[in-house]
Assembly symmetry: C2
Homo-oligomer: 423 residues x 2
């Protein structure tokens, strides 16, 4: 039986050593070029396979896909076909890119359906329905609690009983490469009498992974932890930009608002859960035992290496964080079960972010807040300069990849340049 | 000059005494019937004027509207034409419904474009982009702060400096008439050792008004208080259903989540700010003076009476709250200026809810939490029974209307029946 995850399969296309996009990955995205309007594609090595051309060429006919399903500005309609169908498409594409593929097909693809990635503009892969941000890394929650509250009781009483989450802004989620202006806002220094207005002085990234849903539920319907992954098509990297000084003043009692909604950045390629299947690992033992609806069977954590690098026009890239998605206390099956336990309905293209993913070591913390310990321990960069929070002109790049047995399933990057505030 | 708000104008259609929908109102909505697919209409007395039929009949040609702009399942595309254009459409419709209208037009409308409201199903008027919930009534914030925190310092330090708000769930916003199941969730009694799972025991409504935006802004763009109302097309009533016991356990530190996202109910007719223009009033003096970006000129508060009634299959309706939209401390111009001061982008069809609107008197509190003072003072209903929170089978009806000089601009109702939890 042909399996697209088989480490042995090879493509007729040359895949550079260490590429995020070998034939075992095949993530989906939306792109355009000077001559091609927005459409769906699959990343393969340094190229994009144009799925619309493939369908137009008649190569996907056996799959009985809706007409022009790939000739759309988002993957929502495609993902709405469900995880099983999308998996079949991925398998078929794998066969077309396999070295065993017939010459006629290869010739067609080479001539009509292959676009060098560097010539394409990668667009938002989905139209985001609702966006939830969880807070599910224990090390992150513990670090923040230690800094801002009580080191002896760093985790709040609810934290180990439920995956704390809150709603975020969908409109301002942008794709990698979109620069963001430093936000303006209200802040109040602890010793100031009144708040003042100006550019945030504590701009920060948050290293997160987000999952995307592919199945609509009705209001009142629940999704169990066992069913959850049938509703999830794949993952992207997520940079949840945060203005710490705005947040600390505004967030009581209803949570973060303007500190977050000026922009969040995602990576352009949706890496399918199917491709990540070989990287499933056990999660941590949960103590106290969660309530029944949050219990789960099997493995729902994923071993995905995550990195954050910082650079400027004149400063060479410095990797400032190395973390891993497996550090999550609450996994995505639990998150989706929690999100829907009250009957909240899910749409195709919803985005559910993990919350900052910090590991146990100091260089695995997923935000400047933690890396510089609230600004008290400046980070050293490659040229000897230091950072406590993000400065104008800084470029933050997040990367992610799973690797095992010679196969690397990568996410590509989410890159954001911070521009000065617009006064 | 013909003005659709003129109290003197009359329709050729009989408008029942006390109707919410006289010719001076003309709110927009989406409806369907057994024979007509979803389309836009205007409420007039006990009828709906079918705007698609009007356009098809060639009556709106001078307005140069896009083809089939009213033959859509939401008003988003129509509202995106902007407040000025929508105002012109409203004026034109007013002329068609005016007693001075020519007989041919009246005959056409009577025969082809008038649908008895009781024969129509009213649908969601908009496809909601993002949904924000503010917390802008001082009496409400003070009541909640008194109950849960410190009566001496009921308002948190930030409350008078910024319109506190948070993001809510867009997917679960439903139109009046949609029943909701009591949510299941985690709660923890103060004296319990661990949380437990089950139906919420403290289900509550929140009386709110929401505004709808009609103009897209780019990420990074700001809207000043002076420009804000050009971006707002109109208002609906908003019932922000809340499960108090779920909320109190989950909400630290990131705000309400499952306590709110199981459903929020809106009224089906979008009452335009144009129609509400005569009801503008001064707001309260703001002390301390807000920061510059929150200062405003002119009147941005609206005198709109609001009521909440409770009934069951066997219990006659009891009005349990009489409040007014004018009680807001922060008005919608300030709310929208705040929402965008950091560059957060706005979409057409976004919904911005006021937060619970409580007045100074005990019968003007906009939630059961306040009316029954955290359950300690049960409310008497028409049959002598009592309520602290909402019970299964309860029907909560919110109504709103502005009235002056013999003209009543009404919102209709938002009605929700609470069904038992789905176990």
């Amino acid at each position: 039986m042909y399996h697209p995850n088989d480490p042995q399969i090879k493509s007729w296309l040359t895949i550079p050593e260490g590429s995020d996009f070998p034939i075992q990955n095949l993530p989906f995205g939306i792109f355009r070029t000077d001559t091609k309007k927005a459409r769906a594609g699959v990343a393969i090595g340094e190229y994009i396979l144009d799925l619309h051309m493939l369908q137009k060429g008649g190569f996907l006919e056996e799959l009985k896909l809706p007409d022009k399903i790939f000739r759309q500005p988002s993957l929502n309609a495609f993902f709405a076909l469900g995880r099983k169908k999308v998996g079949k498409v991925r398998k078929e594409i794998s066969k077309f890119l396999n070295e065993a593929c017939d010459k006629g097909t290869i010739k067609f693809i080479r001539k009509r359906a292959l676009v060098p990635m560097e010539e394409a503009e990668l667009l938002m892969p989905i139209e985001v329905g609702d966006y939830t941000d969880f807070y599910s890394s224990e090390d992150h929650a513990r670090n923040v609690g230690t800094m801002f509250r009580d080191p002896e009781n760093a985790l709040l009483p609810n934290w180990k009983h439920l995956p704390v989450g809150y709603h975020g802004r969908a409109s301002s989620i942008v794709v990698s490469g979109t620069p963001l202006h430093r936000p303006l806002g209200q802040t109040k220094a602890p010793d100031a009498e009144a708040p003042s207005f100006g550019p945030s002085k504590r701009l920060d990234f948050e290293l997160e992974v987000a999952f995307i849903t592919c199945r609509e539920t009705r209001l009142g319907e629940r999704i169990s932890t066992g069913e959850a992954e049938d509703h999830i098509i794949g993952l992207v990297l997520f940079n949840d930009w945060s203005a710490r000084d705005i947040q600390v003043w505004e967030y009581v009692p209803l949570g973060p608002f303007l500190a977050k909604n000026f922009g969040s950045s995602i990576s352009p390629w949706v890496v399918t859960l199917d491709a990540l299947e070989p990287f499933k690992v056990e999660g941590p033992t949960q103590d106290p035992e969660p309530l029944d609806y949050l219990k789960y069977e099997g493995k729902h954590h994923y071993d995905i290496n995550l990195e954050v690098a910082l650079s400027t026009d004149t400063l060479e890239e410095t990797t400032i964080c190395r973390s891993n998605y497996k550090y999550m206390y609450w996994n995505m099956a639990q998150q989706l079960a929690h999100q829907t336990v009250n009957g909240c309905n899910i749409r195709v293209g919803d985005l559910y972010a993990s919350g900052t993913i910090s590991g146990p070591k100091k260089d695995s913390y997923g935000s400047m807040l933690e890396l510089s310990w609230k600004g008290t321990k400046p980070l050293k960069l490659s040229d000897g300069s230091t950072r406590t929070f993000i400065e104008d002109g800084d470029v933050v790049t997040m990367r992610g990849f799973a690797e095992k047995g010679g196969v690397r399933i990568g996410f590509g990057e989410v890159v954001t340049r911070i521009l000065p505030a617009r006064e």
